[in-house]
């Protein structure tokens, strides 16, 4: 038995795998958004109202916004987090459950995680589908639904941005080999572009929040802005937001499974361009296996190389961020909705990444004084001055230190 990728039986074949084989029969993203209704059902609207009321309290638990498009594994991640925090003694309200195909709508779903004996450790995980944001953008942030999305973004203390690992890192290769169609590839490019706009808009929101103080005022100010102004680049010298951001390259196991095939294809293509039609040598196969076994060693560098625009935007919009691969459930078939064995492959990686995000959110949110000062306009200059202060935890420091010696990172930047 060799690498995981060989288990699929796809790697050795002469033809490259098709998208359905590799990623399951996922519908195009746009199809979902078109089908999604613009009016909310009563259940969701009640949830949202509760959440937005909570946002206005100064002494509330941190809100972590889980942002990603369909099939990026948001619900699976929430399920895994529920499992992790259950084992730590937390209760989750409402319980996370896998969604059936009919439920795959653009529904905002908050999950309240709380510990019975440690009220200060509570947090709220909000599942914000990317389609919801796209729709708000298409509606020019004018309708009530869009305003609520903005309010939610303004109130969030941390973002967990989920991107499918394989499409994010291998989009060109997948399209070239015919694994996904042109339409789907273009769609995914738009997903990444939406992420970039999301990061830009957050910065605008933070600025408006600083000026207007209250969340509703900031959302209204964004709504009133001209569309071209809304996603403008950061002004020179402006400080990035203090919200911590986790860039999750999700469904990493699927990418790993297909990696040998993809890398073999890449090498073969390189040989073909030189007019060579031979099969891979043993050395080349070894190299491919090595690549596959170490694929997740340097996620930040990889995403920096493959999605430069996204990384540049995140780096200039946010001060604290991290990128890593996430595998909530390894080895499950795509879009599996049945019972899962939660003991399988306990993902310490997810736990550590989420703990980092949570503690960074609590730090950014600040203590009693900061929450009090945020509510009083008299203290806003103090809060702004404190926010402006640099910190030794900023990711740009780490990037700078590495770029000083690492040429790969320097060139990627």
């Amino acid at each position: 038995m060799g690498e995981r990728g060989e288990k699929t039986g796809l790697a050795g074949g002469a033809t490259m795998p098709r998208a359905e084989d590799v990623f399951g029969n996922a519908p195009a993203y746009r199809r979902d958004t078109v089908l999604a209704t613009t009016t909310m059902d009563s259940d969701e609207s009640q949830n949202l109202r509760d959440l937005l009321n909570l946002c206005k309290q100064s002494n509330r638990p941190p809100i972590i916004l889980l942002f990603g498009f369909s099939y990026s594994g948001k619900t699976a991640l929430a399920l895994r987090l529920q499992d992790i925090f259950h084992s730590r003694g937390y209760g989750v309200q409402p319980a996370v459950s896998p969604k059936g195909p009919a439920e795959r709508t653009s529904k905002i779903q908050p999950y309240f995680f709380s510990h019975p004996r440690r009220p200060n450790d509570a947090f709220v995980l909000v599942d914000l589908p990317g389609e919801r944001f796209s729709r708000a953008k298409e509606a020019n942030f004018s309708d009530a639904v869009a305003k609520e999305t903005l309010e939610l973004m303004a109130a969030a203390d941390a973002y967990l941005l989920l991107l499918e690992a394989d499409k994010t890192l291998y989009l060109d290769e997948l399209r070239a080999t015919g694994a996904i169609g042109d339409f789907e590839a273009k769609d995914y490019q738009e997903v990444v572009a939406t992420m970039v706009q999301f990061a830009k808009l957050d910065w605008q929101l933070a600025r408006k929040l600083g000026r207007h103080g209250d969340i509703e005022g900031a959302a209204k100010a964004i709504v009133d802005m001209k569309p071209d102004e809304r996603f403008r680049e950061l002004t020179r010298g402006a400080r990035a937001s203090r919200k911590p951001v986790m860039l999750g390259l999700s469904i990493a196991d699927r990418m790993h499974d297909n990696m040998v095939a993809l890398e073999t294809g890449v090498i073969k293509k390189r040989l073909e361009s030189r007019g060579d039609t031979r099969d891979l040598t043993d050395d080349e196969r070894k190299q491919v296996r090595q690549i596959a076994s170490n694929f997740d060693r340097d996620p930040l560098l990889l995403i920096n190389m493959r999605q430069q625009k996204l990384m540049a935007q995140v780096a200039s919009s946010f001060r604290y961020f991290r990128a890593d691969f996430l595998t909530s459930f390894a080895g499950l078939p795509p879009n599996y909705t049945g019972e899962v064995n939660l003991n399988l492959y306990p993902p310490r990686g997810i736990e550590r990444n989420f703990d980092w995000l949570r503690s960074a959110a609590q730090r950014a949110r600040g203590g009693r004084f900061k929450t009090f000062a945020r509510k009083n306009w008299m203290f806003h200059p103090v809060v702004q001055a404190l926010d402006w202060l640099p910190s030794l935890r900023e990711t740009s420091l780490a990037l700078g230190a590495r770029a000083a010696w690492d040429e790969a990172l320097r060139h990627a930047r």
Partner: protein, 568 residues
């Protein structure tokens, strides 16, 4: 490119991309090296493949934190390194003096009341005349007569105690009953004459002072003072009388403050009293030793005020850092800026006082000065101030014999603690010896005579330690002052401290050695060390936090997780 990036160690060999990169300057390379060693801390192969952070070395971190601190310390050392190479002078005299009273000695002094308290004059008399004109007049003939008779009685009564009311005195019951009687009579007169008369308030205050009741005396004298200040004089005589009133009232207030041990206020009141007295006798005989007469309503001897002021000063200096001119002249008192406290050495002022103050016919002041000179080891001064006891009281004579005993001129001083007296005698002998040594330009360790019995065996050691630290600091500061202009003298002074390393404090000896051999004080070196250490510590904390951020940013938890997953 992706494949290259994630391969284990593949990035290390030269790539075409690398050759395309613009050449990096020396500074960038150095920065890269420092950051790689201090922040990353992994070996090159692991770091290139972004491998595990577990076996990360902290060597670079320590070096990057320590090197700037060490460099700063060395640079400061090189900058301040100026050894004193001049040949030491030969010293003919050492212009330093040992402290007159060390804390250990003060304990011994506290055992002898006469030394502790000094001899107060505290001589305040009743009015000699009841004015029939002006503001203070008593025009009612009947009352005038009654008052004159009562004041006559009070005057006669006061003479039995020499008109003296030393602060803190406790009177017997008979005495107090007599005073109560006088108060009752005065009260009866006050009821007929009405309130707010300075003559009545003054005598109430005087009686309270005689009775040892400072709390009662104070408001009465304050009342007199307010009346005197409020009143406008119509002629020169009136002016003189009001000044005389102010002088006596301030004196009374000063004595009351001294009874409360409020030395600062007491001295201020004595100064105000002297100032008023100087004004009252503008054409008087001079700065000290003149008397206010009946023309000033109250007879006040300014020698008494000056004596009491001196005692308050000495006692106040023992308690806190009271700074005042020891014996101000009328001119100093009249001109406000000169009256302001000057900071000076109490001992030096006392020595100046021995020479300047006229003590002819003033045994109390002479006795006080003798006591002080004896405590300072000034045997010659004690001898010079000696007076014969024809017109002196018993306690003044006792003070003189005590001073002579301490100075070693007499052997007997009756009525004091024998052990404390012998201790003081021994200390006085030691001080005289030390003074002679210093005048001859040499210094050696004081030795206790084996025949001496100290009341407290540790007393000699404590005294020696205090004298050593005081002498060492004076010599070191003198040497530091002389370093620029006269390096030979400075070297000689440092050598004095080094030669006495057996009994001088170790810190002073080390300091002298540092200053002589490196040209910087030990304090400077320690400060620079502290600053360099602080710099390194701050850098260390910054770099450590930076390292944590670096690890948090680049560590792949998914990779670790996958490697250690149970299913492989």
């Amino acid at each position: 490119m992706l494949a290259d990036a994630i391969q284990d160690g593949v990035k290390a060999p030269a790539k075409p991309q690398r050759s395309r990169a613009p050449t990096r300057g020396m500074f960038d390379r150095l920065r890269g090296l420092v950051l790689f060693e201090a922040i990353d801390g992994r070996d090159h192969r692991t770091a290139n493949a972004n491998g595990a952070f577990e076996r990360r070395s902290a060597r670079g971190l320590y070096a990057a934190a320590l090197i700037p601190g060490v460099l700063l310390f060395l640079a400061a050392g090189a900058f301040a390194w100026h050894p004193l190479n001049a040949d030491p002078d030969t010293l003919t005299t050492l212009a330093v003096s040992a402290p007159s009273q060390t804390p250990a000695e003060k304990n011994v002094i506290g055992k002898i009341a006469l030394l502790r308290e000094g001899i107060w004059e505290a001589r305040l008399t009743p009015w000699e005349e009841i004015p029939s004109r002006g503001m203070a007049r008593v025009s009612n003939d009947e009352m005038h007569g009654a008052l004159a008779e009562l004041i006559g009685q009070i005057t006669a009564f006061g003479q039995t105690v020499g008109d003296r009311a030393p602060p803190g005195i406790v009177r017997d019951r008979v005495f107090l009953a007599q005073i109560a009687d006088y108060r009752t009579q005065l009260k009866a007169i006050e009821a007929k004459l009405g309130m707010g008369r300075s003559i009545l308030a003054y005598h109430f205050g005087l009686l309270a002072l005689w009775a040892g009741d400072a709390a009662d005396a104070e408001p009465q004298f304050q009342n007199v003072l307010e009346i005197a200040q409020r009143t406008q004089p119509i002629d020169a005589v009136g002016r003189q009388r009001l000044d005389g009133l102010q002088a006596s009232a301030h004196y009374g207030l000063g004595l009351a403050a001294a009874a409360r041990h409020d030395w600062g206020k007491a001295i201020a009141d004595f100064d105000a009293s002297l100032l008023a007295a100087c004004r009252a006798s503008a054409d008087g005989p001079g700065d000290s030793g003149f008397k206010l007469t009946s023309a000033n309503l109250v007879a006040l001897d300014t020698r008494a005020v000056r004596n009491d002021r001196l005692i308050a000063l000495v006692r106040g200096r023992a308690d806190n850092d009271l700074r005042a001119v020891t014996s101000p002249s009328c001119a100093q008192l009249m001109s406000p800026p000169a009256k302001a406290a000057t900071s000076g050495d109490a001992d030096a002022e006392a020595r100046a006082l021995f020479a300047s103050l006229a003590i002819d016919g003033d045994p109390v002041l002479a006795a006080n000065l003798e006591l002080r000179a004896a405590l300072m080891g000034e045997r010659d001064t004690v001898q010079r101030l000696n007076f014969d006891g024809t017109d002196a009281t018993a306690d003044v004579m006792q003070a003189q014999s005590l001073a002579r005993a301490i100075a070693g001129l007499d052997t007997e001083a009756g009525g004091v603690d024998r052990s404390a007296l012998t201790d003081l005698q021994h200390l006085s002998a030691l001080k005289t010896r030390l003074d002679n040594q210093l005048r001859a330009g040499s210094l050696s360790e004081p030795a206790s005579d084996p025949t001496w019995n100290w009341s407290d065996p540790s007393l000699f050691g404590k005294w020696k330690a205090a004298v050593a630290s005081s002498l060492a600091s004076t010599i070191l500061s003198q040497a530091a002052d002389a370093t620029q202009d006269n390096p030979g003298l400075a070297a000689a002074l440092y050598n004095v401290v080094l030669d006495n390393r057996g009994w001088m404090p170790a810190s002073a000896v080390t300091d002298a050695w540092w200053r002589l051999n490196t040209g910087m004080s030990l304090g400077f070196a320690l400060w620079m060390l502290a600053i360099a250490a602080a710099l390194s510590a701050v850098l260390f904390l910054i770099l450590r936090r930076w390292r944590q951020t670096y690890r948090t940013t680049f560590e792949s938890w998914h990779h670790e997780d996958r490697l250690h997953a149970p299913e492989g």
